[in-house]
């Protein structure tokens, strides 16, 4: 079983790794690149904890092979803050207590950011449906939805 050399850009940095072709992008991010912010909750694309964007498209990194990352641009939770400055979504999640255990949080933040880039003024229903693929078992979603709506509002005001 030979490994395949992959060159890709993660959070703006060009990186290289050797991937077993059976490894998912999530495996490669976590085990080869040390980016453990993306989580595996299911391995079947049903929980969203591994959400990343690839060339700007929101995906579950457990449903993409590492070898498919060749030449792509990948954004993960580790690239969301700008240095010490948190993204408004990150800040609002803390302020609204929108996390309890925090395990689903990176995936939800990445997914919510993708939503607000596409739709800066979503309704509550739009937020709920967009995030339907991100399971949270602790919060009942209430404070998550409020945090996303509040961040959207702030970002619209700031723009």
């Amino acid at each position: 079983m030979s490994k395949i050399h992959v060159t890709t850009v993660v959070n703006g940095d060009e990186v290289e790794f050797l991937a077993d072709p059976r490894e998912t992008l999530l495996d490669c991010l976590r085990d080869h690149l040390g980016l453990t912010g993306s989580k595996e909750g299911c391995g079947t694309g049903d929980c969203g904890a591994c959400s990343v964007t690839v060339d700007g498209v929101l995906i579950s990194s457990c449903l993409m092979l590492g070898v498919e990352a060749q030449g792509k641009k990948i954004e993960t939770i580790e690239g969301m803050a700008n240095g010490e400055e948190l993204h408004p979504l990150q800040r609002k999640f803390i302020e609204h207590a929108a996390l309890q255990c925090g395990f689903c949080t990176p995936g939800i933040l990445v997914a919510a950011k993708a939503l607000l880039e596409k739709n800066p003024d979503p309704t509550e229903t739009e937020v709920r449906y967009w995030l339907a693929g991100n399971l949270c078992r602790c919060t009942g979603y209430d404070k998550i939805i409020r945090a996303v709506m509040d961040a959207a509002s702030e970002m619209r005001g700031a723009a």
Binding site: I4, T44, L63, L65, L131
Partner: protein, 288 residues
């Protein structure tokens, strides 16, 4: 496992035919990776079709229909305003497959070739009279979508066959289509029953119709009797009643963890009624 990235469908076909052991094609990968992960399918060869020219394109065909590349994701389908205007039912079926994240990867062809009777995008394609272009060892041929599924997890594709495009006919005037499915949750579920209808009207009268049901038989099923119930009607109560009866008569589902046969049959009829009303409204140019 060997990973291949051919640059033409002919090469992909040849690779698949010559490979030893288990071979799988990778379009979006949202089914194959799950199977690999669970150990139910451990391919020896994985052939990634995404890099073949045209695989990512949505193009208008000369006759006014559409050609959809095999690696076009659900998200890109939904973002294509012209396609959505022509075939909203086809697109809404695809958009029900999985989460937003899954939409970023999942494809029509993958959904079709997975062979699930509950595949959400297939009834819409069947109702729309879509076909697939197949590149095989003996050349290229075109086959109606409903001829591809052969039963749960099975297709009629032969070794060396690769689907190289999906073809939608021209929508034409006064047409409309729609798809709905039933799931216990609002999202993230497999259809317990699904129904797609495509129809055309002349004034208030339905002149053409195709009705397809999903998750109520071993394959997605075209129901001509249900179409007959609609054709010539103005979608009055009698036509709807006849539609519901015909759809339920065509159901032959199983009892499983997702629902009983009785429930699936009941709900298929309910969906047919609701979907017919939406498709009719769209055909008449009313608000969707």
């Amino acid at each position: 496992m060997d990973f291949h990235t051919p640059s033409s469908f002919e090469d992909a076909s040849k690779l698949a035919a010559e490979a030893t052991g288990l071979t799988r094609f990778l379009a979006g990968g949202t089914d194959v990776l799950v199977q690999m992960r669970s150990g139910t399918v451990l391919p020896d060869n994985l052939i990634d079709l995404k890099h073949i020219p045209g695989a990512q394109d949505i193009t208008r065909t000369p006759d006014g229909g559409w050609r959809i590349g095999i690696a076009v994701s659900g998200a890109r389908l939904g973002d294509h305003a012209e396609l959505v205007a022509d075939w909203p039912g086809v697109v809404e079926g695809m958009e029900l497959v999985g989460s937003t994240q899954v939409q970023g990867r999942a494809t029509l062809v993958g959904n079709l070739c997975n062979g699930s009777p509950a595949a959400d995008s297939v009834p819409g394609l069947v109702a729309a009279q879509a076909s697939v272009e197949i590149t095989g060892l003996t050349g290229v041929r075109t086959v109606p979508v409903e001829d591809i599924p052969a039963g749960p997890g099975k297709t009629t594709l032969q070794p060396g066959d690769v689907i190289s495009g999906i073809l939608l006919p021209p929508r034409g005037e006064n047409g409309g289509d729609a798809y709905q499915r039933f799931t216990p949750r609002t999202e993230m579920d497999i259809a317990v029953a699904g129904c797609a209808i495509s129809l055309r009207v002349d004034g208030d009268t339905i002149t053409e119709a195709r009705v397809a049901v999903g998750a109520v038989a071993p394959t997605v099923r075209l129901v001509p009797d249900a179409a007959d119930a609609l054709i010539g009607s103005t979608l009055d109560d009698a036509a709807i009643d006849a539609l519901v009866v015909a759809v339920r008569a065509a159901c032959n589902p199983i009892d499983d963890k997702r629902g009983t046969a009785e429930f699936r049959t009941d709900v298929a009829g309910v969906l047919a009624k609701r979907v017919a009303q939406i498709a009719y409204g769209r055909a008449k140019g009313e608000a969707q």
